[in-house]
Amino acid sequence: MTKPEIKTIDKVNRTLGKRYRAEKRFRLYGMLSIGFGLLCVLFLFTNIIGKGLSGFTYHYLQISVEMDATTLEISDTSDLNQILAGNYSAVVKRGAYEYFDVSSRRDKSAARKLLSVDGTGYLLQDRFKVDAKEIINTKSMVWALVDDKVDFYLKRLGEPGEPGKHEFSEKQLQWIHAAVESGDLQKRFNWAFFNNGDSAHSEEAGIRGAVMGSFYLLLVTLALSFPIGIATAIYLEEYAPKNKWTDLIEVNINNLAAVPSIIFGLLGLAIFLAFFGFPRSTPLVGGFVLTLMTLPTIIISSRASIKAVPPSIREAAYGLGSSKMQVTLHHVLPLAMPGMLTGTIIGLAQALGESAPLLMIGMAAFIPEVPTGVSDPATALPMQIFQWFRNADAGFSEKASAAILVLLMFLIVMNTLAVWARRRLERRW
């Protein structure tokens, strides 16, 4: 008897199960990697939002403060110098002693430590700047900032290990809980976070300076990179002859798009700061560096949108006797503008989040004042986050998370705008 012949179809059938399993496995790998990516996005956002939201609120204690003119050392309420130099801490302290009803020196010191005396003093000062005449020598209720340790402790109540509790004595804890129960110690929205510049004390620190710094940075970047980028794109698409020089320009643009951002920082340091002697830490120099960085992005997207304008439009314009400049400026440019705007917004969003080159030109500095122009020393949002991150004080880490939320919000708005511009304005041919 001869052995039964093994047909090819049998071989195929025998391995079919294995092959289908391999197919399923492969598909699973793909799904898993997508799942991993989506999970990362989810985890990142929940983590950051969870950490950041608490930075927008702060605990305040309502105390009654006697605005006594002699204690404040203000004799003339119309004199701004006196108002600026007023001894607000003294009245805040007195209000605190009164609230906690303490008289011995040790108790006074313990009570004082629960409040941010200087921070509350600044709040009072702001109020005095507006209407000193009205409130001097009156007694009024004030929401005083608590110390950042109190805030830290209260925000983490109920977490395992009771973080921050060991900072307080038994008596202080009693006071805190009594105040919370009576409703005098409340969590309120922290407006100071949006109104103040940076500060050495986390309870007074705000992002206003950083936001304004970023605003001026983007202003300089936009003013330079938009016209230059568009001009370059027009030149390369409409005018440039095919020669070595044009190739050189193109190669350079492509390479610059891939150069690490920190190298641009070195360029800014060596050329703009050391060679031309521009002032350090200013949005002007930062804007120059960011312009050079975002130019490739803008050029590449602008070129794509110029390329998308059909040649028939150009030919029609030429046929009517337009010159090259007229064709470009009157017909090609308006039609390509939506795409260019999209590219520019995306480039600016990149510039807003960029930190490494700014680090190099000294924008990671402690600057409490809010900048009022492009040549004032300033910091930027990512730099402020970095600064607060490096600060060992626990209160600052929370501020950094909150600042990250603000930065992300700006980025989301910008990117949505870009998507909207693309959907709404861009024309398909």
């Binding site: 005018y239 920190i262 360029l267 060596a270 930190s355």
Partner: protein
Amino acid sequence: MSMSMLFLVMLVGVAATFYFCRQRSLSLASELGGIRHLHSLPVFYGVQAALWCAIPCLLIFGLWVVFDDAIIRELTLQYLTEEQRSLSANELQLLLSTIESITTGSSTVNDPQLIAISQHIVDFRSVSNLALSITVVCSLVGLSFWAWFKLKPENKARSNVERCFMLFLLLCSTLAIFTTVGIVFSVIFESIRFFQIVPIQEFIFGTQWSPQLSIRADQVGSSGAFGAVPLFTGTLLISAIAMLVAVPTGLMTAIYLSEYASSRVRSVVKPILEILAGIPTVVYGFFAALTIAPMIKNGLHGLGLDIAFLGVSIGPLEVSGESALAAGLVMGVMIIPFVSSLSDDVINAVPQSLRDGAYGLGSTQSETIKKVIFPAALPGIVGAILLAVSRAIGETMIVVMAVGTAAKLTFNPLESVTTVTVQMTTLLIGDHEFDSAKTLAAFALGLVLFIITLGLNFIALNIVKKYREQYD
């Protein structure tokens, strides 16, 4: 007149020139019997005149602003005494900045001689300012009148304006070249100065990195060690971890999205993954340092105890809070969309006929991908990976925030390492004396970084280009 005021005056003057010359061309045309007797449209005559005014005025303005400080400085020197003038360059600079701070009123120095000099400087400045205003305004007025009188119907206004426009475009596009040249020069010159202090072979092959210099130059052992090998290995280690995360995930994502997923899934998943690319690096750094690093530390610490409990003799795991692993993982996540979108493009460029051929021979979808599409797309994928590597090497904020500064020569991902970019920032934050080896070392590191990333990009772009030619 303040600078912004002067600028405004210039703007108004140029605008007026434009308007009047345009009107004049119109009136000339109506004398001749209509606009068709002009060589160009009236607006071109206006623009031409405006350009004739604006360009020289801007040149004067620019040159003046650039040079007036240097000239005033030279003029100031003559008021210094003989011995003050013979001071060394640094001390002279100090003296001049003291005088400068007197002029701004921020110094309390009470030296009558210095106060007199500062008064001179104030005078010079006001004279210079006045002279600049007068020069600019006079030349503006003169040029606009000249343009007015020179205006003739047969002027080739349009050609001139178009030439200027074209020149402007060309100038703008050469900025890319200037930027590259600027980068190369700023990095190379400082690096050469660095290699004069520290020999190049010591920098590239040395295994000791401790750039801490002593404060006084005459102190013993004032030169730190500048062997960059630990930095290179640290950078490689972190990039390798990042690539281990990003390449498989990004590649499989791209394959799944382009070969399996329906277009609806694609249109939802792709933008969500792109979000990862849009998050600022400082946020990733924050995340790596405050969330991932503690997770790894705590997670592996428990594991280490378990291993010790089982009696295996490797002992408890030592996990640094600034481990390379945390930074590498987070960096990998950041690079996923970069790898996936680049490979997506490459996979989509593989012609449909190859797929159809493979299906026709009876292969399953995954076999088609593994045996046909992947090999066909390989060069492009390699290019994409190289680009991703160059991004990982140049990444700064994540490593600055999540990785330490101690230069250790190790390949253990749980230990703290340092990278090229971290060292560049630590060396440059703070003082900026351009003659200490510490500062110059940062530029030498920058040179290395620049060369490596440029090389990687060059190779990657060439591979991609070569591959594209095959199917087009």
